[in-house]
């Protein structure tokens, strides 16, 4: 599985994704986070949105990134 920067794991092994605030829309991310269980958003960081996925599967993290990308089109 690809080890892309901005795709990390926390101490419990959950997937953490960092997304640039000036590239990804807050309203779209918030909408997804509200509608999907096991996804948490932290928007207090200066330049990045921090999204935590309650999964240890990196592939799911990457698929979540693609889903976010498609929603931005």
């Amino acid at each position: 599985m690809a080890k892309i920067p901005f795709l990390k794991k926390d101490k419990n092994g959950n997937i953490i994704i960092f997304l640039r605030k000036n590239l990804y829309s807050y309203s779209i991310i918030r909408g997804i986070v509200k509608s999907v269980e096991g996804v948490h958003l932290k928007s207090s960081l200066k330049e990045y949105f921090r999204i935590k996925l309650e999964t240890k599967d990196s592939k799911k993290g990457l698929e979540f990134c693609n889903y976010l990308f498609s929603e931005h089109r």
């Binding site: 690809a2 901005f6 795709l7 990457l62 693609n66 498609s70 089109r73």
Partner: protein, 153 residues
């Protein structure tokens, strides 16, 4: 002047290229100048790759957008994917620029098509246009009237 512009163009083109290929971690990082390709173009081009690669974006303070592409299948040709992505960027950039220049023509054709389908609509628009023209004429006459008041003797 023309030569100078060509050099600037060349520099801009050179600035848009593959940043690096990480074969170990199976991803390629592309660097795109946001002055050359808009974010909308990048999202449109990326959309066509969603079934082949995982995509993540980043941006630096200089306005460069970094595109991380990670193939969904193992042993894919990373460089080929990167170059294909640039082709798609060019394709969508061209599409957006032509649709912008042709937008007025498309609008006109659509209007004509709608009017031919509903002639009463055409009369309404024509009446409105004449009313606007009359109002404009009257307004101009009033202004001229103010300016050409007879001088006091």
């Amino acid at each position: 002047m023309c030569g100078f512009a060509q050099i600037i163009n060349l520099l801009v083109i050179m600035d848009n290229f593959i940043d690096f290929i990480d074969k170990k971690n199976n991803y390629i990082k592309l660097k795109v100048n946001s002055k050359v390709y808009s974010l909308a173009t990048i999202f449109a081009a990326g959309y066509t790759f969603l079934d082949k690669v995982y995509i993540l974006l980043d941006k630096d303070s200089k306005g460069n957008i970094f595109i991380f592409l990670s193939p969904q299948k193992k042993n894919s040709n990373l460089k080929k994917i990167g170059l294909e992505f640039f082709n798609e960027l060019l394709n969508y950039s061209h599409y957006f620029s032509t649709s912008k220049t042709n937008s007025e023509t498309i609008k006109l054709i659509l209007q004509r098509a709608l009017f031919s389908a509903n002639p009463s609509m055409s009369r309404e628009v024509e009446d409105k246009y004449i009313d606007n023209l009359i109002d404009k004429e009257l307004g101009e006459n009033k202004e001229n009237g103010k300016n050409t008041l007879p001088k006091k003797r």
